[in-house]
Amino acid sequence: MTESFTPTEMMTVAASRALKSSDVCFVGIGMPSAACNLARLTHAPDITLIYESGTIATKPAILPLSIGDGELCETALATVSVPEMFRYWLQGGRITVGFLGGAQIDRYANLNTTVVGPYDKPKVRLPGGGGAPEIAISCGEIFIIMSHSRRGFVEKLDFVTSLGHGEGRDHRARLGIKTKGPTRLITDLCVFEPDPVTKEMTVVSIHPGVSREQIDSNTGWEVKYAAEPTATPTPTAEELAILRELHARTKRAHGDQA
């Protein structure tokens, strides 16, 4: 008998399992932050988490609301300036995994967090790239976590904020980029990995209780599936308990100043 869990919990747990204790991970805020800290609190206790505010090997007890909450600095091994973070640590090639989210994604895992509609006359002005354009090319590989929806999973991006596999195949290499780019895309329905040749994101694992029809109808392109997608293992009771406790602690800490 398995405990019940939400699709978001499934997504966060699946994302956390992608991380190893030996990883040095550049953490985006929001869902990436929850997944990375869950990994640290479960199977990857020695993972090095880095936030672009300059905090290295941080061990927050609660999830930060921003990438620069005091909690991150107080629990970090060291805190460096933002130019140093981007020049030495990110551009210098010291980060193994970058963990990103986005508003829009395409089949080659290019991301848009800039605008919906034309750039000069946007229908919706989104926050923009922040650190993502360089995270996407300088980290050894990229994991992406995003809720699955037709609005977010689109045939064509309105704007390419950060590069995934570009137009596919060897596009990254042709641009002179040596890193792997997106190797995993974790949603609340399934897990994608890039096809080894075309680099199109391909479903390799489907979450419990999710149908292919559900994946198809929430994706704006014709989804490719691996020959035999596996079933994503359900979250364990321990993973769920630790994740829920992390969220509860965070809520208490963020709410207590109201």
Partner: protein
């Protein structure tokens, strides 16, 4: 040499209509009290540079102080949109806002180039993305040694940089620690600078030799403004007011509620509101979590 001044006098002396202004502080130590003073003094036609515009520029833009913004990430961190900035970009309210958009890496490098007295910054970035298509200031250079194509952006050289720091000593040196962002670079890149601080001390006393110090001859004006970073935070003094960031979403969503809030909390008040917030959020009062 830096001069101790009131907040009003420091802004009066250093921020002029039409200036290129950088108010920095990466989530930590955002100079909100100074931002409010710029609004009270009704500065106009500013170009506002900041890696993450945050609430401070949402307020300045919504009050019509800015003609242009230069930025990399214009959200309310962990909450959502900056509604006033979006309204200016999407609907031209209260006036149209021109903008020049970069990545964090580009702006961090551009500040460093400004501090280093170089005309531009060079870095590995912007590969395969659309920003260079819409921002003509993003260009490339070929490395003369390896042939690698690298991105360039112009150095940031603000007319005035405004930061919030932890302490100043009587000699007018300024100290900051914790998440130090790009503040040192912004001050050294700028022609003039204002540092608001939590407190003035006789002497900095025992400290790490690597503490970030801005010597008095690099800062134009120092203002003692306790709580001046609220709702961001000051390491060792008070914590980030995350509830306030969430509340801002509601306050700023509509023009009327925004203007009413600005009138009651900024136009009709002074820097004392920040001291009140510090008292409420200080570690001693609230108890560290």
């Amino acid at each position: 040499m830096s001069q101790f001044m009131s907040l009003a006098a420091a802004v009066e002396a250093n921020v002029r209509d039409g200036d290129v202004v950088a108010m920095e502080g990466f989530t930590h130590l955002i100079p909100h009290a100074a931002g409010h003073e710029v609004i009270r003094q009704r500065r106009r036609h500013l170009t506002l540079i900041r890696m993450t515009p945050d609430l401070i520029y949402d307020q300045l833009i919504g009050m019509g102080c800015a003609d242009k913004a230069v930025f990399a990430w214009c959200g309310n961190p962990g909450v959502g949109s900056l509604h006033r900035m979006r309204d200016a970009i999407e609907n031209g309210w209260p006036q149209p806002l021109a903008y020049e958009e970069h990545s964090h890496a580009a702006m961090a490098n551009a500040y460093e180039a400004g501090a280093a007295g170089l005309p531009f910054a060079v870095f590995r970035g912007y590969l395969g993305v659309d920003l260079p298509k819409v921002n003509p200031n993003i260009r490339t250079i070929t490395c003369p040694y390896t042939g690698e194509k690298l991105a360039t952006v112009p150095a940031i050289r603000p007319d005035v940089a405004i930061i919030h720091a932890l302490r100043a000593d009587r000699a007018g040196h300024v100290l900051l620690e914790g998440i130090v962002g790009v503040q040192k670079q912004a001050v050294l890149a700028a022609r003039r600078s204002i540092a608001t601080v939590e407190e003035m001390v006789d002497d900095f006393g025992e400290r790490s030799p690597n503490t970030v110090i801005l010597p008095s001859w690099t800062v134009s004006a120092i203002v003692v403004a306790p709580g001046g970073a609220h709702p961001s935070y000051a390491h060792g003094y008070y914590k980030r007011d995350n509830a306030y960031y969430k509340k801002w979403d509601e306050i700023s969503r509509e023009r009327d509620s925004f203007l009413a809030w600005m009138k009651a909390n900024v136009l009709e008040r002074g820097p004392e509101v920040f001291a009140e917030q510090r008292k409420r959020l200080s570690f001693a009062m609230a108890g560290a979590p």
